[in-house]
């Protein structure tokens, strides 16, 4: 049996799609916004691998064809951005100041909390790029001498968390402007958060996509300055 899992070409992708399908089904059946399909899919996939004792690398060998589409899909975010070009131009000051505020807030909160928790320098720089897209974040951590695998995990957890809390946070804290919502979600929770912003509306989705790019690039420079502080 073990041999079979190891050589199956289709198992990884099938499990991924089935888990996501189950996640969507769970949400529709329960009607609860807490049952986020992405989170359910991740939990189901991990549970399946653990229960059947399947190695992650074996699973990923098949599932990598799903991940393959991630770069092309991210490139497609240029389209909502283009469609909302006028909105962006009209609100350029808000966008620039908002993204700058997000990067400064993120880095400062992490600095203060890292000191409070007594993390060492490597642990601290590992967290600095937590709100930006994985591929940029990995590069930042590597450059600054942190633990890359932890950065990847923390970035993914941040994205899922942001995806789930985006709607309640906007409601509770009275963030009502679609542009403000989009910038907030994209700069706090990168592409995984942007998935939720897309569901909220066209302006939210476009601004969230813009925030991934802008906050990501700004963090490359910001994180190297913050790494010198502590």
């Amino acid at each position: 049996m073990y041999e079979f899992w190891h050589h199956s070409l289709f198992f990884g992708t099938l499990l991924t799609l089935a888990a996501y399908g189950a996640g969507v089904w769970l949400k529709e059946k329960s009607g609860s916004p807490l049952l986020n399909p992405l989170l359910s899919a991740i939990v189901i996939t991990i549970a399946f691998l653990l229960i059947f004792g399947i190695d992650y690398d074996t699973y990923y060998d098949g599932a990598k064809y799903v991940s393959y589409l991630l770069t092309p899909a991210t490139v497609c975010l240029a389209v909502p951005l283009y469609e909302q070009l006028e909105t962006m131009k009209k609100n350029i000051t808000a966008v620039v100041v908002g993204v700058t505020a997000s990067v400064v807030t993120s880095l400062t909160v992490i600095l203060v909390m890292a000191v409070l928790f007594g993390l060492d320098h490597a642990g601290y720089v590992t967290l600095l790029p937590k709100s930006i897209t994985t591929a940029i974040g990995m590069g930042v951590t590597e450059e600054l001498g942190g633990y890359v695998s932890i950065t990847v995990a923390v970035i993914i957890v941040t994205g899922i968390l942001g995806n789930i809390i985006a709607e309640p946070v906007c409601r509770i804290f009275r963030i009502k402007e679609p542009i403000a919502k989009g910038i907030a979600i994209g700069s706090a929770a990168h592409a995984i958060g942007t998935v939720k912003a897309m569901e909220m509306g066209a302006a939210e989705g476009a601004m969230s996509s813009l925030a991934i790019v802008a906050a990501g690039i700004l963090t490359v420079f910001g994180a190297s300055i913050y790494a010198m502080i502590f």
């Binding site: 992405l38 899919a41 991740i42 996939t45 990923y60 799903v66 991940s67 589409l69 991630l70 770069t71 092309p72 991210t74 490139v75 497609c76 240029a78 389209v79 951005l81 283009y82 469609e83 070009l85 609100n91 000051t93 808000a94 100041v97 908002g98 505020a101 807030t105 993120s106 909160v109 992490i110 909390m113 928790f117 993390l119 642990g123 967290l127 937590k130 709100s131 591929a135 940029i136 990995m138 590069g139 450059e143 633990y147 932890i150 990847v152 995990a153 957890v157 941040t158 946070v169 906007c170 804290f173 963030i175 402007e177 542009i179 403000a180 910038i183 907030a184 706090a188 998935v195 490359v220």
Partner: protein, 116 residues
């Protein structure tokens, strides 16, 4: 054939992004260069929206699924993550909420000010 052509255009921008990532010594991934270049191409009308519309709708729609394999990789990083789990978790949750709230309000404040 139409969808194939559309997919080829998106792959072309992904590929150019990949090439730039290899050439430029910055930790900026292929996808970010790709977004910027496709955006410019649309703006300059080198590419028409209708030439890629179908594939774009499809890829953006399935985007959440694409994060599942990488996220399931959390089981692999679990041994490294576990010893310092509490501080990492607290910092992650608190800073994510803080960034969302502060960014949302700063952006909203400026939008509303400029309307007056």
């Amino acid at each position: 054939m139409k969808s194939l052509k559309q997919f080829a255009v998106i792959l072309f921008f992904s590929f150019i992004g990949e090439a730039l990532h290899a050439l430029i010594p910055l930790p900026v991934p292929a996808s970010i260069y790709g977004i910027i270049l496709l955006f410019l191409a649309l703006q300059r009308k080198w590419i028409q929206l209708r030439d890629i519309h179908g594939i774009v709708v499809f890829l953006i729609q399935i985007m959440p699924v694409l994060f599942v394999p990488a996220a399931a990789g959390l089981i692999k990083s679990w041994p490294v993550l576990q010893p310092a789990l509490l501080p990492y978790l607290v910092i992650t949750v608190f800073s994510t909420v803080a960034v969302m709230v502060v960014t949302g309000h700063v952006t909203q404040l400026i939008i509303r000010k400029s309307r007056r």
